[in-house]
Amino acid sequence: MTLFKGSGGIPSRSASGAATALTHVLASIADLAEGHRLGHGRRIAWLALKLAPLCGIEPSEFEALYYAGLLHDVGELWVSSEVFHRAGPASRSESIGVREHPVTGAEFLARFAPLPAGVAELVRWHHEWWDGTGYPDQLHWTQIPPAAQVLRLADTFVSSLSDRPNRRCLPPEDAFGEIISGAGRELGPQFCRMFALLFQSDAEVAQLADKQNDLGTKPGVMYALERATPDDVEQLMLAIADCADARHPVLAGHSRRTGNLAARIAERAGWEPTEIDRARLLGYVHDIGMAAIPSGIIAKTDRLTSLERAAMQRHVLYGAEILRNIPELEEYADEARHHHERVDGSGYPDALAGPAIPLLARLVAVCDAYDALTTGRPYRTTLDSDAALARIERDAGYAFDPTLVQALASSLPATTI
């Protein structure tokens, strides 16, 4: 596929296509952040768009509603995920964090110019309740924009259908009952009435829990970000890198640095410009699956138990799954999956060895390790650059590709990360 200039490694014909693909990555990270299955945002966007015409929403607002549905929970990335991974009520501080996520998400999304106008506002108000007891602004009745009320309804219904680590899913009839009993309290009565009509007339709504990839391609459902420029693509890539690292403060900037270092090494090694871009992008997205890992495991200072280690190791699977579901980024799925393989075959998830591990995955593994060693982790102290390099050189041939370790060593003196 022809790459447009400034594609940043995304095989798309245009900035619009690349930005749209990246926005779907962002949406998938947001799904994982709250413990949902992938496609949660897509399902909400799909249902919101089904409801919108019935509820008198202007067609000009559909695009904003679609993206608000996709990205509504992006603010959850900055909330301690423990609350979504265990049973029982949230503590007071967790509750405050959860109540902040619409504002955090809205502020985050307001930075992205190619998103349609109004997305940030809808995200801000997607937890307002009709009776004024929602959050963050305690808007009530008609103060809440109709599109935000539709989004609230779609979120409530789809969330009821979804299994979460701390909550069992409901069958469609019971999820329908949740909507009806929320009329006049959580949800606007007239919107509930429209939902009831839709539920009774459209069998697809009841089957929504099983849908994922077939939701994005229906006519009129998918909206490309037509206004996106190469700068926007770059900004979105950096945002994804930041989101991947949002689970714990100690990770802040890790993906950006890993991507930049990978690109630097590739450049020094004389790779083609498109390969350099690919190396950078893989560095940015290699840890997007971390959004699914409970913050408590990331923050743990003691040795991980075998269950915790297994949970932590699943981040490569989540990351690969996200990328596999987005056609423009599908080719990165295997590389993200294998960035914790070791060349001696003792890594995870597939215990691949030597050249069976994709080259970019081997490169990112070296950069990932170097950054982790030089920035510290909750369970160990920070090393300086020389000590980190010595540690990586010691593992060359076992954990890391010796050629790439050599390339790292020759890149470092001039590297400014």
């Binding site: 504002v103 009776d131 004024g132 808007l139 009993s181 006049g184 007239q190």
Partner: protein
């Protein structure tokens, strides 16, 4: 039939906080606060908040969620508020005037019992929380009257219990001194010092969209369904025509001169009038527009 109207201006707590944060505001006064949920939000963000309103129930709610830092209602206390206590004699006809017009016979009896039970609470904080929770139940009933088929029938005590229970999460301590005044806005401005004041330009009477639920709940709190709230509405809040509007708003701006920052929520239709008059009193005017219904003119 009651008309459930809404104001034309939106005032979002989180947007107000954004503005306060951008201008390093540490304390704020809203002399036209209404239901002080936005002050509760700013309080939880660490800002010292002060509010005033002529309607007493708003003030009582403010005592519950703005002034009160720690008192909540425990389960058995909520039970004592929401249930018709056996053996206790309640004035049976207190809200009979609303029966058949707004409420059923059972609802009127509960309104009477709740009124008596809440009046019997000795803590200002608890009283405010109870009034807020019962207000939501009351609004639910009125909404159900407008669209009876769309809302579930919920037993009155259960509805009220669920709503009062929710008030617990509104209570918190920001380690600042927060106050609420019962009285005219201009008086409050004379009494309170703060970094910023939130002003409310008067509404033209032709556009008046005051919410009937608001004055009905004031009537409930006062125990008099015939209560006339007109004397309690501040002259500064309404205007007969544009000249009157100008005079009333000018009086607000004159009184508010002492505040370094004035924040005026407005709408697209009123924005020009607000800005024009503000320029006579303030040297620097900026605007944050979030939507045509939610515009803030910020003057320093």
């Amino acid at each position: 039939m009651i008309e459930l109207r809404e104001g034309k201006r939106r005032k979002s707590a989180s947007h107000l906080y954004e503005i306060c944060r951008a201008h390093d505001v540490r304390s704020v006064l809203d002399p036209f606060m209404g239901l002080p949920v936005h002050l509760n939000y700013l309080k939880r963000k660490g800002i010292a908040v002060h509010g005033a309103d002529p309607l007493e129930w708003f003030v009582r709610v403010g005592e519950g969620i703005v002034v009160n830092d720690s008192v909540i209602l425990r389960d058995f206390e909520i039970g004592e508020i929401v249930e018709v206590t056996p053996g206790r004699i309640y004035p049976p006809d207190r809200f009979r005037a609303w029966e058949g017009v707004f409420f059923t016979d059972e609802q009127c009896r509960y309104l009477s019992a709740w009124h008596e039970n809440v009046k019997g609470l000795r803590s200002d904080g608890q009283t405010g929380l109870a009034i807020l929770g019962l207000w939501w139940a009351f609004a639910y009933w009125l909404q159900k009257m407008v669209c009876p088929d769309d809302l579930l029938d919920v037993a009155p005590s259960e509805l009220a219990y669920a709503y009062i229970r929710k008030t617990e999460r509104w209570v918190g301590d920001n380690a600042r001194h927060n106050t609420i005044f019962h009285g005219a806005p201009l008086e409050a401005m004379q009494r309170v010092a703060a970094d910023a004041v939130i002003l409310t330009a008067p509404e033209l009477e032709a556009d008046d969209r005051s919410d009937a639920r608001t004055w009905m709940w004031e009537a409930w709190w006062k125990g008099n369904p015939y209560q006339n709230v007109a004397p309690h509405i501040a002259p500064a809040a309404h205007a007969a025509d544009r000249a009157d509007w100008r005079a009333a708003f000018a009086e607000q701006l004159e009184t508010a001169r002492k505040y370094p920052l004035a924040i005026v929520p407005t709408s697209a239709g009123e924005r020009e009038h607000v800005e024009t008059l503000l320029r006579e009193y303030r040297s620097s005017i900026r605007t944050r527009e979030f939507s045509p219904e939610e515009i803030y003119v910020i003057a320093s």
